[in-house]
């Protein structure tokens, strides 16, 4: 029942906002719909904690500890982003950069995007997972080019072409997966259900599965933004409106990585050896190193944090690739704290960019002086994302590095160098923006920065004191992934 409400609310919201998206109350309506979704997610999570994984709608939807925490996270971040986008969009409309019917497009696509995310997470059918991912791309591509500037058009075009081609590879991977499954489970609907695949993964044909994993990794890897396939990500995140960048960075990348991890579970079972894990580790490490070194070349603040997302997705992929209870636990925790921190940073960045009228970091100075909440939000957010201890990101990096030092010691020098260069680059650029003389003016509408500090508080809490049931949750999920 909760699944119906959970999927129904955003879908209905999308339809309703398509009609009334341009009205004055549209942002409030948008937040209301997201709130509804978040409540449904909470109810579903409570139910999963109470009585374990459930299969609903004759096994079309499957919810286990692994994807339920992602569902809760997605719903929560979508809700807080909608809260943030209320004043943000009003200011954009006020400054005339967005016409009312573009707002309508934005609001309806926002809700549909949430719908596709939740569908991708909840579905048990690998095919539907692919369809949901493709739909996610479709809903966000128009939003990236919302401002109609040449740069945003270019970003949207590249985003669309690269992701579509990537998703096409994933489709072929799914076909091969279906092909291998059909041998064991017989044709008909069940061959694509992840739960059935999970049971018989031992008997699947190894050569086909390894080919399938290659296509799936390249396909969904493009959506995750792994190193050689990452080129669309910085442009898409930098040129789109900030709520979209926050949602893309915070949620879309997680869901894509969720799909890759689901595939890895099957392939690992089929192959027995660590072929999938090694591939993921290789891609993860490559992404961390390349993103770290590209950070120091950035002049646009949103591109800077887009590359930081690539780096963190690389860390997560490396963690999941390494396997073992400790590393997987670190990967899951990193997924949560990264999406919370990165969305908080994008909220602060959004308002900072609006205040100074530009996204070029050299022109933003003295944020703490002119608006302490934005200044401290950005400062604490970037310190959190850089893995400074009191925050949760450090907890996951701590577990990751110590596990890596024990299982894959060869990788630690690269990680050390990359983390150091990333720290120098990001902090070197954020510090002058936050400190110094103020060069920015007041905002027409008061910025809604409660979400920023709520997110950072949660991340701080996760760093210092992990509630036992949350820890139990992660441990079950880690056991599932293995």
């Amino acid at each position: 029942m909760e699944i119906l409400l959970l999927l129904g609310a955003p879908f209905a919201g999308g339809i309703v906002l398509a009609v009334w998206g341009h009205r004055r109350f549209a942002p409030e309506l948008n937040s209301g719909m997201s709130l509804l979704t978040f409540l449904a997610a909470c109810v579903l999570t409570a139910r999963i904690i109470a009585d374990g994984p459930i299969l609903a709608w004759n096994r079309a939807f499957f919810v286990d500890p692994f994807n339920v925490f992602l569902v809760a996270l997605t719903a929560f971040v979508a809700f807080t982003t909608s809260l943030f986008s209320r004043p943000y969009m009003r200011i954009e409309a006020h400054t005339g950069r967005l016409s009312p019917n573009r707002l309508r497009l934005y609001h309806s696509m926002f809700q549909l995007f949430t719908f596709t995310m939740l569908l991708a997470l909840l579905t048990n059918n690998v095919g539907i997972l692919w369809v949901a991912m493709e739909a996610a791309t479709l809903t966000t591509v128009l939003l990236v080019s919302l401002y109609r500037t040449p740069a945003s058009l270019e970003a949207a075009w590249k985003y669309f072409i690269l992701c579509s081609v990537g998703i096409a590879q994933a489709l072929f991977g799914t076909i091969l997966l279906y092909f291998a499954a059909e041998k064991v489970l017989g044709s008909g609907g069940t061959a694509l259900l992840w739960t059935d695949l999970n049971q018989v993964k031992g008997q699947l044909e190894p050569t086909v599965m390894s080919l399938a994993f290659v296509f799936l990794l390249v396909g969904y890897g493009t959506k995750v933004g792994l190193a050689p396939l990452h080129n669309w990500l910085p442009d898409a995140h930098a040129e789109g409106p900030t709520p979209i960048s926050a949602v893309l960075s915070g949620l879309l990348l997680n869901v894509a990585l969720y799909a890759v991890v689901r595939a890895k579970v099957l392939v690992e079972g089929a192959l027995g050896n660590n072929f999938a894990g090694n591939l993921m580790m290789g891609f993860g490490l490559l992404s961390v190193v390349i993103a770290a070194f590209l950070l120091s070349r950035q002049r646009d603040i949103k591109r800077l944090f887009a590359y930081s997302s690539i780096e963190h997705m690389g860390l997560m992929t490396f963690a999941f690739g390494m396997g073992g209870a400790l590393a997987t636990f670190a990967g899951l925790l990193h997924m949560t704290v990264h999406s919370l921190t990165k969305s908080a940073i994008f909220f602060a960045v959004g308002h900072a960019a609006q205040k100074s009228g530009t996204q070029v970091m050299a022109d933003i100075r003295g944020l703490i002086e002119s608006n302490p909440t934005i200044g401290w939000g950005l400062m604490l957010g970037s310190l959190a994302i850089l893995g400074m201890p009191p925050f949760g990101v450090f907890a996951s990096e701590f577990m990751l590095l110590t596990a890596a030092m024990h299982q894959e010691p060869w990788a630690t020098p690269f990680l050390l160098a990359a983390l150091g260069v990333a720290f120098a680059a990001i902090f070197g650029k954020v510090q002058p923006m936050v400190f110094g003389k103020a060069s920015v003016e007041r905002l027409p509408h008061p910025p809604a920065l409660i979400p920023v500090f709520v997110h950072l508080a949660i991340v701080l809490l996760l760093g210092l004191y992990m509630p036992p049931y949350l820890a139990e949750w992660y441990r079950q999920a880690a056991a599932l992934i293995g």
Partner: protein, 221 residues
């Protein structure tokens, strides 16, 4: 039940025809003829799905034949023609790499696709197992076509050709995906093309041309 080898020969013929069309699209110079080749490829795909549906008498395959025919042979080509007329882009295609080199690379890709598909086709149970290699080859060829094109429209057509290749792989390896997935994919392809159309108008508006080299400003040199 007609003797199996006859029908499989027919399917192999259609597969070969599909590969030929993919090659033809790779080397085509003019947009309009490119769209006609794409429509022909859609037709061949529908025909081969029809043959597979008939021989393995799977009722839901007929439904996907109808949708494929409707979408890939009628709707999309008409839409692309309408677009070309609307944006009056009557010009031939400049390519990034010249045609002979593309031919050579195409052949290498086909060889690579065949030895890649060899292990799979032995264990494939379907009658059309040998065509899997051709399906992979057509996917890689259309991928190459997307890389080597300068114009946005031809890039989109390359993408749609890749979709055709994927569908052909689905039918040849596994007699088509379950219906709900099949419909979802077709729906996505349709919406994708519509969005591409919207983009063409936007790019046309801002850049007055559909050439890709306008879209190269965002870089971290």
């Amino acid at each position: 039940m007609p003797s199996l080898p006859l029908w499989s020969q027919l399917i192999n013929l259609l597969a070969a025809l599909l590969l030929l069309l993919a090659f033809a699209m790779l080397t085509q110079r003019r947009v309009l003829s490119l769209i006609r080749l794409f429509a022909a490829q859609g037709f061949v795909l529908a025909l081969s799905t029809l043959v597979v549906a008939y021989t393995t008498n799977q009722p839901d395959l007929y439904m996907s034949v109808a949708v494929t025919f409707g979408l890939k042979v009628l709707a999309l080509p008409w839409f692309l023609h309408w677009l070309i007329r609307k944006l009056n882009v009557q010009w031939d295609i400049e390519t990034v790499i010249n045609i002979p080199v593309q031919m050579l690379v195409g052949i290498v890709l086909v060889i690579f696709a065949f030895n890649l598909a060899a292990p799979i086709s032995e264990i494939a149970g379907t009658i059309t197992k040998s065509t899997l290699g051709i399906a992979i080859a057509s996917i890689l060829l259309s991928f190459l076509m997307m890389i080597a094109r300068r114009k946005a429209v031809s890039q989109v057509i390359g993408f749609l050709a890749m979709e055709n290749g994927l569908f052909f792989a689905a039918t040849s390896a596994t007699y088509g995906m379950p219906l709900v997935v099949e419909l979802g994919i077709l729906f996505d392809v349709l919406v994708g093309t519509l969005v591409f159309g919207v983009f063409f108008f936007q790019i046309r508006e801002t850049f007055e041309s559909l050439d890709i080299h306008h879209l190269e400003k965002l870089k971290d040199r």
